[in-house]
Amino acid sequence: MDGAQVTPGQTAGLYTGAAVLRLAIATLLPALPDLLTGRVEISTPVTSFKRLQEGLFLYNHNVSPYDGGVYHQAPLLLPLFSLLPSFTTLPIFTYLLYIAVDLLSASALWRIADSGEAGSSALFSSPRRTKRWSGFVIAAVFLFNPFTVATCLGRSTSVFTTYAILHAIAKAVSGAPFGAMAALSFASYLSMYPLLLLPPLVLLSYDRQRPERAIRSVAKFAAICTATVAGILAILFQMSYFLTGSWEFLPSTYGVQLTLSDLTPNVGLWWYFFIEMFDSFRSFFLAVFWLHLSSYVGGLTVRIRRQPLVVLTLLLGILAIFKPYPSIGDTALFFALVPLYRHVFPLMRYTFVSAAVILYATCLGPAFYHLWIYAGSGNANFFYAITLVWNLGLSLLVCDLMFAVLRDEWEVERPEMVGKEARQI
């Protein structure tokens, strides 16, 4: 597929195929989407569709959904979903919305792949960049990834965040910093954690500015971008305030991510840790976990300055491991960006191990959860252990990708070292 031209027919075929697959599963197996909605791997307290329905029900009956412990999602989702025909009577419209968002994400990913940013950014060109997959393949990998399909069918609201992030990156690589910042503001408004992607996204937008109206000073550019994000977020919050009539939504939507008051199991590391944590140390470790999560942003952005898209990819991988309520939807976003680095795959050392560990955890995770919750023959440690394995597998993949990218950078300085053994000191 390298460099091959994609006909409009193939494009349409890919999108139609992905849409038909999702619709077919939803209509032929009508019980499956509800089953997926209930899975803790797909729906977290901050993205669950069932909680969204409850919030919508309360909103439509003039009860504040934020004056309760069930709904923790952004207020603007409520009018969006109340415009749709009711899910109970006409579920097809909800499915169509989710499928459309998935297809839009795929098209944004396609634009990112076609820009060639992964192989050659403004400050760095990889000698291996010719060896890459086309946007068609990358979009197909995203659309037919079982994790993406499951998240779409489970109607987790994380697909909106995924689309907003991918759209922000696509806008940034196509030289539209304002669009990128606006999309990132929406992503942060929906899920809060994408705010951590701001520094690399600012650098990416800076590197890919259109020459005719470029801002030369990094500091000035960053200040403008930050101000844009802050301004758009302020507008969004103000709109939410008018919509719900109070600021109650702030603690309920973002506070729950900061304090982890809802300890529903998920694939992440936080829930069991804070179930078992001693009360007097709870706030200390919450602070440590958030500090740890944000510590990667600075380190990666500075060290891999020449390839901001790599920083974004690695950060998304790290967030899929360490954020408070991760789901496989976040992993699907990370897996969507990894194929952009086809050229460094030969430099990765543990692909088999990490792939095997991730597959192993994928198969055993639901089984162990069943043993704990339904069969009663296992206890909470079963599911906890498998989430540990899953996260170790993912962090191995992140480390390995980072190693490969850095080695690729190093081989530009030392072209004679290609194919030779190297070590780090």
Binding site: P265, I275, S295, R303, A380, N391, C399, M402, W410
Partner: protein
């Protein structure tokens, strides 16, 4: 002399009190025991103690029949009306029929408390509520102080004040329930101490913890309310009620040999009218044909009457048809009531009352009264399996062939049951006889929409307050309605589980308040503001046991260590790659094991040379 002085003052007080408050017939205190045999060899015993005190005396602290300890608590906490319930067991409505007092004097399993407090703001009400629950907790030796914010609700339509209150007073209703509380002897003793005769004389002598808490169902109630008769001074009324259903056979077992043993086949009481009755098959009789006496059931006879009680009120009444003969001890006057189904007994203060209900004649069919059919049957259960999510299903059956029942269904749920209100639905059980399937569906849709008329919902807030759900609904005549909704079980912090975490968490009984017919319609329009219809009948479902997922309690340290290790591996791995620079394998300084081994070898070599020299 020092010892004599208190004695003299005691005499003086006794003398004074006998002068000022002569124990005449027009006493403000009366007590009564109602005995009603129920089917399946059960006996309902309803004790009722009631006394009044005028407001002027109450405010001056001049307590006579009104218990001082309780009165001071009420004054301190600004309580206008108070209802406290201690209950145990299940009222078997299918067999026993309608509840005593129309369900107004009973609570759900555990402890239930609701009160109208004088308060202008919510904070003031919460403060007074805290004072009240803590004081009552001490008085009744119950864990009432555990009624905190998560267990307190403010019902909007379910409860109405029973007493007469001035229209302009700011009152707030607070309701708290402890379904897990085990009611036992330590609650009965303070209860009896509130009585003027302290359980030493009168019908209260029958109340013994061994019998009361051995009952199939029992409910102790305290109701305090102001009553304003027209043209007279307002009085504060305290009513203490104990209802218990005793199993006659079980109560008659001797205390030293309490283990039940199967009867030999030929002694089983069988229903001989069944066509399959023969020497080896037996259908058990609905009504026990056993005889019983008061002292067999309660362990002792009634010891006289309380001298403070109104002597015009008969202390003991028995509800059996007038045709049955009842034996009583001598000096007891029996008076049959004109309704033909009850009789009362008068005794003098010093005599003991012993009562014996002999075996009815085999031929007599009217030996026991058929229990009254309740207005509504209700049962509630959990659906679903697993510890992740579940559902609640309440089956409400209206036995009446022609009258519709309108009621308010109230649930107070703990915060860790996250209910999904959008899944709540009420449907009429589909009768199999209906012919056209499609037609039936569309019709039942119409009916279902009108089943739920009004919903008042206050969602739970994690660790701050519980769910409050009040549903005003109706059940059409002769039909069964299923009310269902889904909920999710949340997982708690390990310190929030009780010591017996795997037993589960008790969920309080649902309170069903049936509105008296006719008044219901006006109430729906007037909403919460107007004092809606008075309750015609109350009932409560059983409490439920909800099992939550549990973490492994034994390994907080292990989890902290494992998770920290996983994080350290990722953090270390990533920053290790980030901060180091690449060199070829053969460049740069030696590192690792090889360097150590080399150094060690050099040392050894040096040492060996030294030894050679």
């Amino acid at each position: 002399m020092r010892q004599l002085l208190p004695f003299l003052s005691f005499l003086w007080v006794t003398f004074l009190s006998s002068c000022v408050f002569p124990t005449t017939a027009s006493s403000d205190y009366h007590e009564q025991l109602n005995l009603r045999p129920l089917p399946l060899s059960a006996l309902l015993a309803s004790f009722n103690f009631r006394s009044n005190t005028t407001f002027s005396k109450f405010e001056k602290g001049n307590f006579r029949f009104f218990p001082r300890s309780l009165g001071q608590i009420l004054q301190h906490a600004g309580t206008r009306e108070l209802h406290l319930r201690f209950s145990l067991g299940r009222w078997d409505a299918e067999a026993w029929g309608a509840r005593p007092w129309n369900g107004a004097r009973e609570g759900g399993t555990g402890v239930e408390l609701w009160a109208w407090l004088e308060a202008e703001t919510d904070e003031e009400a919460d403060q007074k509520w805290l004072t009240l629950t803590n004081a009552l907790s001490g008085l009744f030796c119950a864990s009432l102080n555990f009624i905190d914010g998560t267990r307190t609700t403010r019902p909007v339509v379910s409860f109405q004040p029973e007493g007469d209150h001035a229209a302009d007073t700011d009152m707030q209703l607070l309701y708290g329930v402890l379904p897990h509380e085990v009611v036992c002897t330590e609650n009965l003793t303070p209860f009896l101490k509130l009585l003027p005769c302290k359980g030493k004389a009168g019908i209260a002598t029958l109340l013994d913890g061994h019998k009361l808490f051995d009952a199939s169902w029992q409910s102790m109630a305290i109701d305090i309310r102001p009553i304003c008769p027209s043209g007279e001074e307002c009085v504060l009324q305290i009513e203490q009620t104990i209802d218990m259903v005793l199993d006659i056979e079980r109560s008659k077992r001797p205390r030293d040999n309490p283990i039940p043993r199967p009867l030999p086949g030929d002694q089983l009481p069988c229903n001989t009218s069944k066509h399959y009755h023969s020497h080896d098959t037996c259908f058990p009789l609905d009504h026990s044909k056993e005889e019983w006496t008061l002292s067999q059931i309660f362990g002792k006879p009634v010891k006289g009457t309380c001298p403070l009680a109104d002597s015009t009120v008969p202390p003991v009444c028995l509800q059996v048809p007038n045709s049955r003969s009842v034996f009583v001890s001598k000096d007891v006057a029996e008076k049959k009531n004109p309704d033909g189904v009850s009789r009362c007994f008068y005794i003098s203060p010093e005599t003991e009352l012993e009562l014996m209900l002999p075996r009815p004649d085999d031929g007599a069919s009217t030996d026991i009264l058929t229990p009254e059919t309740p207005l509504l049957y209700a049962e509630r259960s959990f659906t679903g399996h697993g510890q992740e999510r579940g559902g609640v299903q309440t089956i409400l059956r209206n036995p009446s062939p022609d009258a519709e029942v309108e009621f308010i269904y109230m649930e107070t749920l703990p915060w860790f049951m996250r209910i999904y209100l959008h899944t709540m639905e009420a449907r009429v059980a589909v009768q199999a006889s209906s012919s056209n399937n499609k037609d039936r569906n569309s019709r039942s849709d119409d009916i279902n929409k009108s089943l739920i008329q009004q919903v008042y919902y206050r969602p739970a807030l994690d660790r701050a307050r519980g769910t409050q759900l009040e549903v005003r609904m109706r059940v059409p005549p002769a039909s069964t309605v299923f009310l269902t909704y889904d909920f999710e079980k949340s997982i708690l912090r390990y310190t929030e589980y009780p010591p017996d975490a795997n037993r589960g968490f008790d969920v309080a009984a649902a309170v069903i308040t049936i509105l008296s017919p006719g008044e219901g319609e006006g109430g729906a329009e007037a909403g919460a503001g107007a004092r809606a219809a008075a309750a015609a009948y109350n009932l409560r479902t059983t409490s439920l046991l909800c099992s939550l997922p549990t973490p492994d309690f034994s390994m907080p340290y292990n989890v902290i260590i494992f998770t920290s290790t996983a994080i350290a591996l990722a953090f270390g791995g990533i920053f290790n790659i980030l901060v180091r620079r690449f060199v070829a394998a053969d460049e740069g300084p030696e590192a690792g094991l090889a360097v150590l081994v080399g150094k060690l070898k050099a040392r050894l070599r040096g040492a060996a040379k030294g030894v050679k020299r």
